[in-house]
Amino acid sequence: MEEIINLRETSDFSLIFERIRNKNLRADIDISEFKYFYPKDILMLVQYFVIQNYHQIDGSLLLSDVNGWYIQSINLIEFCNTNYKIPSHVKPTSRTAIPIKRVDTFTMNGYIRDAQNFFAKYCQGKDISALNICIAEIINNVSDHSRSEHDSFIFSQYYKLPKTIVFAISDLGVGIPDSVNGYMRSIGTGEFSDFEAVDWAMQKGQSVKSKVHNMGAGFDNIINQIRGIGNIRIFIGGVYCQIDKEGDKYIGVNPISNFIGTIIEITIDTTKLEPIDETILEGYTF
């Protein structure tokens, strides 16, 4: 391996995506100067090494003393070496992160159950059902639309300061703009720009009908769940979309050029979670 890609900040991941696009994966990755990894950064590294392994190309990750312990504690290398073809369980070592997982609609129940149990200890007495619903909505969305060769990957981390749960889900499949415009072509209407397509897909009731019963409720559900307790960051192709605590949406240019697929990262402020309401109604007719 002769070449080394230096990653110092999130936008540098464009160098990785350029390699994936050009199928030029013979490069090591140097993250020794990368200071603070969020789950989406971890998943972009995962995608590169999973594809590298898939093509049976050896690669290495150059770490610093500062971030090396973290990368080792989340078992990133072991995960990439064992999950490039089929999902494989990686043992947890970090106390604040759930091991990275390759998930689909068949395995999401298990992950959601693990996440619920794992994060409950940081949110005692609080309702963390938003976490379950958002994970399910995103994985269902990937399954319905992305046609990703490598399923999707998920990584979740608890941060003590500030008290937040951050999780990200990524895939390397067809992004929303392609999916929306494919649908627009099929119904004989004009195509959208990538920005318009993302905006359209976020609106309540808009669906590309990839499954008969799809109603376009998924994104709206995610936004409603996160309103007041956190924010959503979405990276899709050339588009970046952010939805803040108040539900306000911002759509702009993706700071990571050459980006492939989709990454959705959700932050939940655990101090804003409502207490669990244990009142049970004996009977109810709608």
Binding site: T105, F106, N109, H213, G218, T279, I280, L281, G283, F286
Partner: protein, 93 residues
């Protein structure tokens, strides 16, 4: 009235596949015009995919009035009520 404990008949509340399982079970009651008590105790929050493939399909096929007449929810939390209400509003508008 027949009683159905949701936690015992479906594995999860998130996927289309689990929603379809519930649809198959509930459809019999709709075809027979038979009321059924659906016990929600301990059932996790539902995704929209699960709802669309189960309750949503029943509403589309049989209408909201029949849905209300056949399904009686039991042991349901306030948050489950508000979630189902939200999905019902979405389906009806």
């Amino acid at each position: 009235m027949k009683k159905l404990v949701l936690n015992e008949v479906v594995k999860g509340a998130y996927s289309n596949a689990d929603g379809f399982t519930l649809l198959c079970i509930l459809k019999t009651y709709f075809l027979n015009n038979e009321e059924v008590e659906v016990c929600m105790l301990g059932f996790p929050p539902m995704s929209s995919s699960f709802f669309n493939s189960s309750f949503g399909e029943l509403i589309q096929e049989f209408g909201i009035d029949k849905f209300k007449a056949i399904i009686k929810f039991k042991d349901i939390t306030k948050s489950q009520v508000s979630q189902i209400k939200m999905y019902l509003d979405f389906h009806l508008h």
